[in-house]
Symmetry: C2
Amino acid sequence: MFSHRAQVHRVFHALGDPTRRAIVERLSTGAVSVSSLAKPLDISVAAVVQHLQVLERSGLVRTTKVGRVRTCRIEPGGLTIAERWIEERRSQWERRLDRLGALLESEET
Amino acid sequence: MFSHRAQVHRVFHALGDPTRRAIVERLSTGAVSVSSLAKPLDISVAAVVQHLQVLERSGLVRTTKVGRVRTCRIEPGGLTIAERWIEERRSQWERRLDRLGALLESEET
């Protein structure tokens, strides 16, 4: 349980930063090298590397190094963790609404 | 477009904090007052109020005051914004995989 909470935390912490979301947005359209990731974001390669470490730990991004080039890819598992947390909240909230609706109906009859 | 980006930012910034996620988790199971929100979280009412302001601005939570009691409720619109952002990333990524698959097939024939 703790480990799942920790995973959820890492994913939402990672997505809480606009630069890291921009990286995830970019990588959704295809794999790129670290340096070509840095250019349009207008930040240093060192800063990108730091953000990538947070994204890798959260399971949102995977990087592989071939020779001197490190390539970054989206890792769908991280997105799934965030999606499930949101779905759980929504379904709890909807069940609650259903119960309230049933209660109101039973009071009317 | 800017306004949508700003909304996405407010939602993910709000969800990036573990206390604010705990508030959203609690509110998914039903509406509560600010003071009963503070107790199990073991933080001051003042701290809860600050977190609630961030959550209200993001559209994840709505609060209403009757007399001296402020009641907090989940607002599903905020969750929808986060869900859609994630879905867009996933569908971009899947379309990219489909194109790669088609490319590989056409090269094999």
